[in-house]
Symmetry: C2
Subunit: 406 residues, 2 copies
Amino acid sequence: MTLKVNGPDEPVFLPQGFVWSAVKAGIKASGRTDAALAEAPLGASAAAVFTRNRVAAAPVVVGREHLAKSNGRVRAVLVNAGNANCATGKPGEKVASESCKAVGRALTAAAEFVVPSSTGIIGVPLPLEKLVAAVPELVAAKAATSEALEDFSRAIMTTDTRRKAASVEIKVGAKSIRVAGVAKGSGMIHPDMATMLVYIFTDVEAAPKSLQAALKKAVATSFNAISVDGDTSTNDTVLLLASGASGVKLTAAGVSKKFEAALHAVCASLAEQVIRDGEGAEHLVRLKIEQAKSVDEARVVARSIANSPLVKTAWAGCDPNWGRILSSVGKSGVDVDPSKVNIFIGPQRVCCRGMAHEFDAVAAHEYLKQPEYEIRVQLGRGKAKLEFLTCDLTVEYVHINADYST
Amino acid sequence: MTLKVNGPDEPVFLPQGFVWSAVKAGIKASGRTDAALAEAPLGASAAAVFTRNRVAAAPVVVGREHLAKSNGRVRAVLVNAGNANCATGKPGEKVASESCKAVGRALTAAAEFVVPSSTGIIGVPLPLEKLVAAVPELVAAKAATSEALEDFSRAIMTTDTRRKAASVEIKVGAKSIRVAGVAKGSGMIHPDMATMLVYIFTDVEAAPKSLQAALKKAVATSFNAISVDGDTSTNDTVLLLASGASGVKLTAAGVSKKFEAALHAVCASLAEQVIRDGEGAEHLVRLKIEQAKSVDEARVVARSIANSPLVKTAWAGCDPNWGRILSSVGKSGVDVDPSKVNIFIGPQRVCCRGMAHEFDAVAAHEYLKQPEYEIRVQLGRGKAKLEFLTCDLTVEYVHINADYST
């Protein structure tokens, strides 16, 4: 089944049962829209994947609590950009929960049905009064339109140079299910703004538990199969909301498989958009790990390669240096037998069974000059495989991240 | 006990029972000395720590085999620079063992008493004939002098800009023990030449097993407490040889503690010399991890900070960005409670119990402009601590490592 995924410049397949809005709350120094609301007026089932960083931002702590308390039911999401509300201690958690209360009051819902989300600078108190003052305007502006979702997707941007959106429609008999996602995250990461936030809306009808299983599966080979610099943000969040407004049940015959494909397609598109927006990145690298024992094992090897400064700088120089790739496979912790490892740069084999394989170095250098290319590593251990997206480490990355920011 | 450690520009405390030599074998493209021999004419007990990279170079594979076969007794070490003999398969292992045989024949010793060692380019066959042809000259040139050890230390250099050496003498009654070490490794690592090689010679009398325990302990808080870019070489080796020529037994009363201190002092000095020679590095960072549950835990946290591109680029920009440090603590995998974490940049506390702490940002920026400084992180978990040495990630690093090398 091939799915047509619409990107940010194409019409959106808009799921039913949601309204969106965005306003200027005065949190971003730029003065752009920085507060956004998504609401499921009749409620939605939710699934979420949060950062594994032990230093979790206040909205992540409060968001987890609310989802537990509400048994995975969500009425609204309140997002702000410009301030991460992280490393702000108990006062920061109070700001997150108070802002949810304000939204709850405006929508006549309990606070635990509201999920808070923040991105921006770390260690600076988030001004609650600004966020609370924006709520009435957010509620007044909400609309079930493509424009409103687009406004939402712009308000959550920080250093992103492009807005990220992906949507899919799948037919189920006479009915259809729509899955639409938006994301922020600009690959090569700006000072203090290391966060990836993703919100996915669908109108399938599903229990939170089934949604969570589907989301976990989709994330494993999309957002968990990309790396810019190996850093994990304190605020990373992927939230999936299902309104049920399509009238199609996830448990109906044949629906689950189609929905999972649609969800994965949206996640994979958004993940690729994040990598493509990498500031300073000059090359998008499709790292194909093959012959692994499991997808998890393939991911460990892919990350070891993708996070090696020596590999990433070789890519910046269009250098077909397979020795650094082989060495990164070896240090990954996976019990690889080097004499079974093959490495391909595009169409050319450069390493055969752990040894040099004659290749056209000039052609390989030319191949690596392309803005996007493929590197394939065979581990000789099993049948699992994973495509992992990453990018190079350029002088521009160091410039962006070394700029004195305080 | 304070130990006087002599560095490369000071007189060496020369251990008895060893001879050294170095010659030009024609392996380095530069034409400099590139083959070196160290011999213990009456034999030595040995201890070794090798790379944990699963892609181990041929000399590492053969070296491990020889040490096992000889029960930790060594007559000689043959080192070449300019070619790592890595990713060279079974033929590469044959080159390593044949070169040991050649040395063994010249010294009338069995091949298993010879340890091979290589550093340089990966994936290119090491020319055995050049190495074998150099052996008679190496044997003819060997001498028990400071000059010979200095020649040895120069021949093993690749992209190092300075020679690395450290030695210590400790008195035991009327006698004395000497520990002298030499190393190669240039921090920020040049294409294909990612190796750290260390050879330490001592005249204490000791069994291989006791030596191994002492070496393991010394390495844990010296060579295993430094990081340039998180990459682990395929050839990394630390080899300790004890001739026994001092007539002082390691098992004699009070000797073991003194020897361990001397060995650690030499290892710590060499480790610091490696970091200081970091190409492209502008700042030496003393990362002090305190209040950990164990030294191993402190090392995990230190590595997470030291290998974060976001932290390293902030250091390059002299940016007192403690949020990135806190986030790296959180993603280390150690079960840290953020509300117990304190961070200090030099004399100033910048993060208190996981939250922003008021500090003089201009003074902190000035402090971070120094070529060498201290950053202290308290975890609030226990009493263990570790000083970890690392450096910043500069534009120059990317330039050095992105240069097209094939």
